[in-house]
């Protein structure tokens, strides 16, 4: 979504204001993957993420006449996904008896050589280290690293000070550094 110019979002906003289906469909195509990723950071559940996005896009159509083209539609959509996803999380925690989903399909190693195996293993570990961070730290980091949102945009989305966002991101990277050191030490002890 970062690569889509503000101009384009403004044009979609105007399209929504006049109930233009074509603008709506374009916006869906352009924004779905990134918003799906964001819903997934929060829920860790692909089925829930699609449900959340379905609700978000329906809601967007319902409120289309109140959209202000001078305000960022991109920020509005991230905010809607966040609200729906956090709401989903609250409900899920209320029904905590549910089974824990398998979030991390294991990587298959049978057909890869040693180098690829190392790369795959490292990638799998990186994913684990990211997942084990506190929720808000992971959210700030993922938005910065994979969605290209600025500190200011993340701060406004998560209702934090930009300085706090920066702290989260630095701490996230330092956390991964520490984990990586420990991982390499363990690997070399097997050699």
């Amino acid at each position: 979504m970062r690569s889509i110019p503000d101009e384009q979002f403004r044009s979609w906003s105007h399209g929504l204001l006049r109930s233009d289906e074509k603008s709506y469909a374009e916006l869906f195509e352009a924004s779905y993957d990134a918003l799906f990723g964001y819903a997934l950071y929060i829920t860790h559940d692909q089925a829930a993420a699609s449900d959340i996005l379905q609700d978000v896009y329906l809601k967007l159509w319902q409120v289309r006449e109140t959209i202000d083209p001078e305000r960022s539609l991109r920020a509005l959509m991230y905010q809607m996904v966040r609200n729906f996803a956090l709401n989903h999380e609250r409900q899920r925690k209320r029904h905590a008896a549910e089974a824990i989903e398998d979030d991390h399909p294991s990587v298959r190693f049978d057909t890869v050589n040693d180098d690829e195996l190392d790369a795959a293993k490292l990638k799998e570990n990186l994913q684990l280290w990211i997942d084990e961070m506190p929720q808000r730290r992971r959210e700030a980091f993922m938005l910065s690293r994979f969605e290209g949102l600025s500190h200011e945009e993340i701060a406004s989305l998560m209702d934090l000070a930009p300085k706090t966002v920066n702290n989260h991101i630095v701490l996230a990277l330092q956390h991964i550094r520490k984990k990586l050191d420990a991982f390499r030490e363990m690997e070399s002890s097997f050699d």
């Binding site: 204001l17 289906e21 469909a25 352009a30 990723g37 699609s50 329906l58 990277l173 990586l180």
Partner: protein
């Protein structure tokens, strides 16, 4: 759409760190690029898209089924941009003329009465609600028939080739010959201009859109939308005979009307003002009785004060 994982580390993240720490942070940032975000399953995405597109088409069909407003872009109404600019310029001149022209007539319905009956030079009759103002420029009737309204009025417009235009804070209401009601109280709790049509067709516009409103229909205007309102026009026009009629309206808005109509002060906390009620009274001659009815509807108390009334919670 392809996802990008090539974002740069925001420079803020390196501030206040020594060289080795900066290198570490940068390395970890680059390394994490390997963790591509999970892309949604194509089939599931297609299902979601099909579902939401079907839902919005359903909604549009429902909207078309009811005698809805036909929305047209203002820009589509004017064939050329220059014509549109000319129209805007003309509107601004009219607006200025109304404000500046010393020969404009200013009508005012004083608080404490039901309404003021006015006959304009073209034969149009206006019933001006208590506390409302109507400005009629000196040019009225020669090149146009434009009036400026602050408040609420019912118009019975004399048919003529010259369009009759009512300007309010956020809307222009244009007609040829018809009867309709315009309500616009800027700064109040329900400040959006509301137009109710009794007979004939009326064009209502904000800066962006224009809608044609048919007899028996009502519309509210906000800067970005024209919204049809479900209402019973005969009820909503009860004010002309001293009645009060509200369908799910905030008490704060009703209190404003009561204050103007009876020239009294009504005190009420926000917790009461923000509650919506539905109430209809044909002829109200006594403020105390009507406020008592409202208070009873929502189970709050009221009492007389030196210059009016107070509604309060126990």
């Amino acid at each position: 759409m392809k996802r990008e994982h090539t974002y740069h580390l925001p420079t803020e993240a390196l501030e206040g760190l020594n060289e080795a720490q900066q290198r570490d942070i940068q390395d970890m940032w680059d390394l994490c690029g390997a963790v591509a975000p999970i892309t949604p399953a194509a089939q599931r995405k297609a299902d979601v898209k099909a579902h939401v597109m079907a839902a919005i088409r359903d909604e549009r069909e429902r909207e078309n089924a009811r005698p809805a407003l036909r929305l047209v872009r203002s820009s589509d109404l004017f064939a050329s941009v220059s014509y549109r600019i000319a129209a805007v310029a003309a509107a601004m001149v009219v607006g200025l003329a109304v404000v500046l022209s010393p020969d404009a007539d200013h009508y005012r319905a004083l608080p404490g009465a039901v309404a003021e009956q006015i006959s304009l030079s073209d034969g149009t009759d206006v019933l001006l609600a208590a506390g409302s103002r109507l400005s009629v420029p000196g040019s009225f009737g020669s090149e146009d028939r434009t009036v400026v309204l602050h408040g609420e009025a019912f118009f019975e417009v004399e048919p003529s080739a010259l369009p009759f235009v009512v300007k309010t804070a956020d809307a222009r209401t244009t007609v040829l010959g018809t009867s309709f009601n315009v309500r616009s109280w800027p700064g109040s709790m329900s400040e959006a201009t509301e137009v109710i049509v009794e007979s004939g067709r009326v064009a209502v516009a904000n800066k962006e859109l224009e809608a044609i409103v048919e007899p028996g229909e009502a519309v509210t205007v906000s800067p970005f939308a024209l919204t049809p309102v479900e209402t019973t026009p005969s009820y909503r026009l009860a004010w002309r005979d001293g009645g009060f009629s509200y369908d799910n309206v905030l008490i704060g808005t009703i209190i404003d009307d009561v204050e103007r109509r009876f020239d009294v002060q009504v005190k009420a906390p926000a917790s009461i003002r923000l509650r919506p009620v539905t109430i209809h009274r044909n002829e109200v001659t006594d403020a105390a009785e009507f406020l008592g009815d409202i208070a009873a509807t929502i189970s709050v108390r009221y009492r007389a004060t030196a210059n009016g009334f107070e509604m309060y919670l126990d």
